[in-house]
């Protein structure tokens, strides 16, 4: 039979591989994003410190994507894209309505902190309006060549 280590060792994600995760946009489900980020980090060869950075970062990314909208009826769509140079993650809120002015104002402070945290954890990050919703993204560069 195949040895366990051989199976685990073959579980890599390569250049151009893409993983898409969509879940109801609720804070208590951000755990799903972190678990997927962990699993992908392992498979692109990040060390455990990079993995923990990414887990923190993807949580902030979700917060950024959730802010500015009434997410009660929307879904959060995360797209993980592997390249030879980096792992890119983009988060978009789908099917939500714009938040009230009060909530938007509250969200501004949270956004600022999230962006500051992202700046300390990943190589690049950004946030822009896309088709009426917020698209937040981050890029974590890989140290070595593609596995």
């Amino acid at each position: 039979m195949i040895e366990e280590s051989e199976v685990a060792g073959s579980s890599t994600l390569g250049d151009g591989d893409r993983v898409v995760l969509t879940f109801p946009a609720r804070g208590d489900l951000v755990v799903l994003a972190r678990l997927v980020a962990s699993a992908i980090s392992v498979r692109v060869g990040f060390d455990i410190e990079e993995l923990e950075d990414l887990r923190l970062a993807v949580g902030e990314l979700c917060l950024l994507a959730l802010q500015g909208s009434d997410a009660r009826h929307g879904d959060l769509r995360l797209e993980f894209t592997v390249s030879s140079a980096s792992l890119d993650i983009a988060g978009t809120l789908v099917g939500a309505v714009p938040a009230t002015a009060r909530r938007s104002a509250d969200g501004d402070e949270a956004n600022e902190l999230s962006e500051q945290i992202l700046a300390a954890l990943v190589d690049e990050h950004g946030r822009e309006q896309e088709d009426g919703s917020v698209r937040a993204w981050l890029r974590k560069r890989r140290k070595g060549p593609l596995a």
Binding site: M1, G59, I117
Partner: protein, 251 residues
Amino acid sequence: MRPDGPAPSKAVKEQTKPERPAVADAERNAMITDNLGLAHQLARRFLHRGEPLEDLVQVASVALVKSVDRFDPSRGVDFAAFATRTIIGELKRHFRDKGWAVRASRRVQELYLELGHATSTLVQQLGRSPTVAELAEMTGSSEEAVLEAIEAGQGYRATSIDASENEDDPLSARMGERDARYDSVEERALLAPALAMLPHREQTILRMRFVQGLTQSEIAATIGVSQMHVSRLLAASLEELRRHIDSDTVE
């Protein structure tokens, strides 16, 4: 200014300090007080790594004080952004200095082993398979940590910890063991194309051995060859499978 770069030596700090605009004591204290909430918030982001919150808050608070002392308003950088980078850098350095990366992977392995014992105990106590929440409570971990330990500990096997159990086949007895009946989805997905490359007879023999669970003698009797011949065919087929899978993996 990288948050995780080497900290300036004391001598360097003392030399450079007078060159920066002096911050009055009252202003300095106000900056620290105003941003203690930020230090707390950032410390909380690093919870669940085996360090108590109080220690993390202390590290973050010391880093905040450093931020205030190092901050140069003339550079036009927002203080909160500067402090966030410094505090996160110090928190990361704190974990690095404590050899956290090594301990973390050991912690996952230990939790995985602990889950085996906890599952066994809870099965006896509850008379049913425990939930992840119950396992988390018993091991003093978060549900997320339990899920990660299961995934990491099982080497990406897809066997569910919530799978129904009976007294003759407790989950704890299976944790960490290989069982052909429960070969993972990943393994089967990997095997299927390789299996299809084998001659029909070899595929049949492999299925009889590993899917139907027949012994080599039973297979020999069924297909009308000697047990030794079945043994050789199995060995050759497995070798062939390995070659296919290795070449797929390299590609």
